[in-house]
Symmetry: C2
């Protein structure tokens, strides 16, 4: 048995936790709050953060211009704003996009480099301290060091991380997900599930990490009926956020694998949400790996209560109206881009380009 385990983020989970833990905000003199246009306000999270900062007499400035799937320009803009305001720590509020942007901004605030140079490199100086507050239950970004950014020059999304990109504290308050639409609740839940599944099946999986992933898969399983019936109440919201946090802890140790590598192009070119892109690939992914990890995949199917991968795939189409049709050229290009993602190498079954092409073809083929 060989493994590493480390969860340096202080995860504080529960309803009302920010107002009850204002002292944990004392990470600096002036906070840069990084968020998108709406969710921080709608969820009530921004109000709670402002309460905490006022209570601790900490100054702050707000950059609320993070776009979905943030780009290099977007994080450069946030960094310039933070520097101008002389912020010395960062608070991210939102789904994956604001949290990922905030990690990049926290690194760029202390490293005078071009944002593109974050990709594949560990910056010289430590990032500014970061507090992460999720408003969706999906990304798990609040407990990971990863930041996924859109890189137009490379036609795809790429991730960066450094040891100092872990948030210092994550406040996971399930009540912030109350204002989400059914569509976002579903898409983000599927994203969390794909983290748990891919981590559990990753070549880097370990006994201890498997325990975390399985606990998350069980939590997700206990939400499936409510997701299908559109009856998501406080208890389910709490379980979904729990599953999401566990997914984040799990991929911190293993990274993601094939689903994420293949899903990026569907988001980048076709505008599918990240979770939805993942979920469309899940049936093929399970089928592709079944022979190599029969016990683990059977265990997942048993926990979810499915008799077969086909039954699972039906469930994961919940909320999908129609799948995009891809041309042969598109499939070839997406295949090449997926093969260029390093997480492909962690798939339990060795993946070659033909495999990926076949999967895209079976799911999305049909366009001329």
């Amino acid at each position: 048995m060989d493994f590493n385990f480390n969860m340096p983020v202080e995860l504080v989970f529960g309803t009302g936790i920010i107002r009850n833990n204002t002292g944990k905000f004392k990470l600096g003199q002036k906070a840069l709050v990084v968020t998108g246009r709406n969710s921080a306000k709608l969820s009530g999270a921004l109000n709670d953060v402002v309460f905490a900062l006022d209570h601790e007499a900490i100054e702050y400035c707000i950059f609320d211009n993070v776009i979905n799937n943030p780009t290099m320009e977007n994080v450069a803009e946030g960094t310039a704003f933070g520097k101008k305001n002389k912020a010395d720590f960062v608070i991210a509020i939102g789904g994956g996009s604001p949290m990922d942007a905030a990690k990049a901004i926290a690194a760029l605030m202390t490293n005078d480099i071009d944002p593109i140079d974050l990709i594949g490199n560990i910056p010289t100086n430590k990032s500014l301290p970061l507090i992460a507050i999720p408003t969706t239950s999906g990304t798990g970004s609040e407990v990971t060091p990863y930041s996924v950014l859109t890189v137009p020059s490379m036609n795809t999304k790429k991730s960066f991380f450094s040891p100092s990109s872990f948030p210092v504290v994550a406040f996971a308050d399930p009540s912030y997900t109350k204002s989400l639409t059914r569509e976002i609740t579903l898409d983000t839940a599927f994203d969390a599930f794909s983290h748990l599944l891919e981590s559990y099946l990753s070549l880097k999986s370990t006994p201890l990490n498997d325990v975390v992933a399985i606990e998350g898969i069980k939590a997700f399983a206990s939400c499936m009926k409510a997701l299908a019936d559109d009856e998501v109440d406080d208890r389910i919201r709490s379980l979904l956020m729990y599953a999401s946090c566990l997914g984040g802890i799990a991929i911190t140790h293993t990274g993601t694998t094939l689903i994420h590598a293949m899903g990026y192009s569907l988001t980048y070119f076709k505008g599918l949400s990240h979770g939805r892109a993942n979920t469309m690939l899940m049936g093929e992914y399970l089928g592709f790996n079944m022979e190599h990890e029969p016990e683990k995949i059977q265990n997942v199917l048993d926990i979810l209560g499915f008799k077969s991968i086909i039954e699972a795939d039906d469930f994961f189409n919940l909320g999908t109206d129609e799948k995009p049709n891809l041309t042969v050229e598109e499939i070839n290009m997406y295949t090449q881009l997926a093969m260029g993602q390093r997480n492909v190498k962690l798939n339990p079954r060795k993946v070659i380009a033909e495999d990926i092409k076949g999967m895209y073809q079976r799911i999305f083929g049909g366009a001329k």
Copy 2:
């Protein structure tokens, strides 16, 4: 669902990990190696550490004078030695005693206070960075911020901790436990089990921490036959160290409870090893709490394969020749000391002095 989770220690687990990860020793210019008289040498751990430090061209000095159940004088001595040698980080090698002493020394190196003032206080300055290397599978101290010290002026053991007392890295190499006697293997395994059990039943237990504790209890369960038959091989040693690390992660979140509170006096006055003291109390502890946590205790009995608490108690007497007989005066004094430990309050069933007295009486009563 409300919980906190945090495992800031980078746990590196496996055989041969120190020589394969020498870069992780670069925490300063000069290491103070803190260890006892024998185990670091016998286990081979000291050789590996010296190899790593030489490989990274890091200077070091060795304080190998930690006694069993280290006292205030003992940690003061280690601190003076470290200061004289101008060490700027600490490496602990050994069982609980060297690791606990090293945490105190790491704090005293940066805080000019009397060692007794560590108890119940969080020192002003951060401790020196610490690497912890266990040579037994029991204490879990390599992944906790706790340091248990013997305080003669208070006739007992007391724990101190601070957020900076977490080791930066823990190297858990099961091969270092090869040279242990059967007695120490058993006693330390029982200590690990009591951490897992007390954490699982603690009032501070959480869903995520329970998952860690249960995984550890399962690992311990798979070692029981080998422990009983004295057939501890490499696979079992690996599982025992895994259980021990999980016990450490578990009590980091919950602390220990009644068993530890009651066991300290048996070690302090009667010289019983820490694990052995715990194990003698385990049957009574389970019986005392059965009505309050029937599901959890039944779950533990099921995992261990016992039909009853009496059957479990028989197993936990493995290797115990005879239990000390306590006088009424001793029982009264031990009861008072146990009631003074803060971890008593975390027992699932509210504990009053009469309860503790009754338990001591039933197990150790009989002396005039």
